[in-house]
Symmetry: D3
Subunit: 184 residues, 6 copies
């Protein structure tokens, strides 16, 4: 692989929310590479059940979790990215928003399909995938179950500061009523 | 609340179609406020099962129903609004298309979440919510059940003039065949 | 032309701002037709020198000017319309946002080209075209010259209420600095 | 119908992939008309289960299948078309991308609704609709069942050249994991 | 370069209109390659001075000019392409709409910049560049000067059939009046 | 102003390229606030004369310049932002991509107009505005004049690594030929 100092590694996620599994991934990237690029996907989505938090709130969580977690932030960039419907354009859309990078860390079959012709795609080291999982955590938030041990203390605090628990519950009510943005 | 003459109240709906429950809501707004702004949401959608009528057809129905219903149209504006995928931008998208307004009438949890930081959101007075309901009415149209008593006479006539009953039935066939816009 | 009661006539403009020439046009339409549809074009543009006012502010001006001018608002609809880059799609974009209409009033060569295959396009009766002109009025606002006699008293008041004179002057400074949204 | 030499007929499909039923349709058009326009719909979609192939790959398949099938390609145009969310604009979107045409061949209820006010829509002659069906073929590809007899030899070869069988299987895995473009 | 039968060559233009210089270019491609892909750029633009003709009309002109010019149309594809504002995404946008290709023929500095990292860009053989030039021809059409010798007879005929000369003159008047789509 | 530790300050620019004047601004923000948010505007634009560098390249320059300049990167976020045509939606578009912030640093009249109703807009401390200016620097790059003293050493190096000087010259040639993306 050559000199670690020559490599930039990229992780992509929606980070709804940023959890302990993501922390493990960032650590993996910084072991392999000199810099980590964290891409906050579906950046245009927010206030939906699957995407309750704005891109800015997600950037906020990631930044504070890494800072409080003792990460060297001079080696990390956090970049929001809006979706691109034409998948064949997705990789160049991604590349246009990032410094040059060498490795993409992803176990996502679509990401692998779209990116592996351009650069190395390396499988992420995930732990406790069942619990360290955005959908699982959002459901625990919704159901009033304990979720604080699945995310950094900083993420927990930010979600409380922005009243995120109530937001998730409100969005669930909204989607249950199946009324879209407007009533009928 | 001060002088009613100083207030403008906004109602938002898809109005697929405009029904008697909506009429009750417009009355409520005009009791509270000097002017009512009626926003026709998802204005870009039409010729789908959930959104059979164009924004223009919906404006037509609302205008005629209110006119024939004896409303004072000098106090009412009817404004189409296209969707905004980024919910955090939705309120400013709405505000950019309307005169200044003071109260939003909505029981929709998402609308309340997005708007209540900007202005007062007041619960609408709804009646017979099960029947005065767009989805319920579209289903009755589809199934050949009586629906004329759920909407204004003007709405009933317009839907007939534009051959709306057949349109709803055709769209149902189309979506049943699950062929999207194109066959496969 | 048949029965006036059967006709709906449409006027299209950017209304930056709504001025006395536009009032003449609305009168013309209501002489010919039973209803007038007023389309506020380039609805997505605002806070630029050529388009200083939001669509909502323009709707506000038009509505108040017609109301104070004694027009019968039960015969008038005011509809914002966003631009469509593909001109060959423009007419159907327009039609999808309006009740059915019979005559388009326009002296604009492009509008005539795009619409005359679909319906009658009738030349507007314009007066004092040099002064009753949006660009001319915006320039007078900018240069501190008298412009109150070129618009309805209601339009004048609304522009003052929203601090529109300073907005026009600020936008002029901005565009002079040619710095786009961001500095360089 | 007049002189066949004066007519252009249009077929619309997503062609995921182009199969023997489509071949029958093109033959039908060329029996009726002097030229056939083949519109590759949802051109912006690719690398999804329902739309595994890019518009360019679909153009490639159609062109080669017709060439190898002995069709006169001087009478055929193959045109990609991106989706238009506002159905009321769809027909003019289509027309803006094609030479003038006289007949649309479609059994799709929505296409018929949207196009029949503009021109003749003629029902396609389909054979073996259960097997000559995109969804059916994609499922056979996915499940490792024989599908080579449902498409032209050229289509079969191209799908193999672009490693399309593995692509379909990968996309199925991806959608099963329901992880959208990004993991969670 | 290997076997000509293995190569596909692409030409990109706006073709407003398709002229004799373009014919020379298609000949060059078919001398070098087994197939030519002709991309009709800015496909979403029409009814402007710089882009008077719709993509469909341009496809029509190209197809008829090549057919009447004795070209083997089984070796040629004509594909409309809408613009992509993010230039870094442009090449993948192009590639997603075309069969695989090996050489891009362009003297355009931006196209060369964007494409040469992906494949060979070969300079086009142009003749009489001053006259075989879209802008020059549009100006001659506008000014009533002879232009029939600069385009194929088929192109000349199509422009007359669609009343293109009057369209160019009307659009010039429109843009002179600087009134954008709507008057002011 | 209260405790500096409680404040987040935002700077917005296109950073084509990031220069010494921008460095002064970031210093100012970090004197006033505990964290600086640097927004890379017009993120979708690149490979044009006014916007030669991709958003990713600009993020790269800013990050390396700040790192090599001894800034504490744990206090800094660098966020790309695509343009929003509806200016009245711009502020909420911006806010949706950023952590909560308290002060916007801008001397831009449009930014002040759009943001000052939402939060404090503070004038940036600029030095040598004539030379520390993107347009001025791009012109010096184009004309082969010395510009290395106007940017950080890191920015100078990155522009060389990505062959930026030739890119600027090529884009100038392209725009001179006024051929847009495609020739005519």
């Amino acid at each position: 692989m050559g000199n670690k100092a020559d490599l930039r590694g990229t992780a992509i996620g929606r980070f709804q929310p940023f959890h302990n599994g993501h922390l493990v991934l960032i650590k993996q990237i910084l072991e392999d590479c000199s810099e980590a690029l964290i891409v906050v996907g579906s950046a245009q989505l927010n206030y939906t059940m699957a995407n309750p938090f704005t891109a800015g709130e997600r950037v906020f969580m990631i930044h504070k979790a890494l800072k409080d977690g003792g990460f060297d932030l001079s080696k990390i960039l956090i970049i929001p990215l809006v979706d691109e419907e034409n998948n064949a354009k997705w990789f160049s859309a991604l590349a246009s928003m990032l410094p040059p990078f060498n490795i993409l860390y992803s176990g996502n079959h679509l990401v692998i399909s779209l990116a592996s012709q351009h650069l190395e795609v390396r499988p992420p080291r995930f732990e406790r995938r069942k619990e360290f999982n955005g959908s699982y955590i959002r459901n625990r938030i919704l159901n009033g179950q304990k979720w604080s041990d699945l995310v950094s203390r900083s993420v927990f605090e930010i979600i409380n500061i922005i009243d995120g628990v109530n937001r998730v519950k409100t969005l669930a009510k909204y989607e249950l009523e199946r009324t879209k943005l407007y009533g009928s």
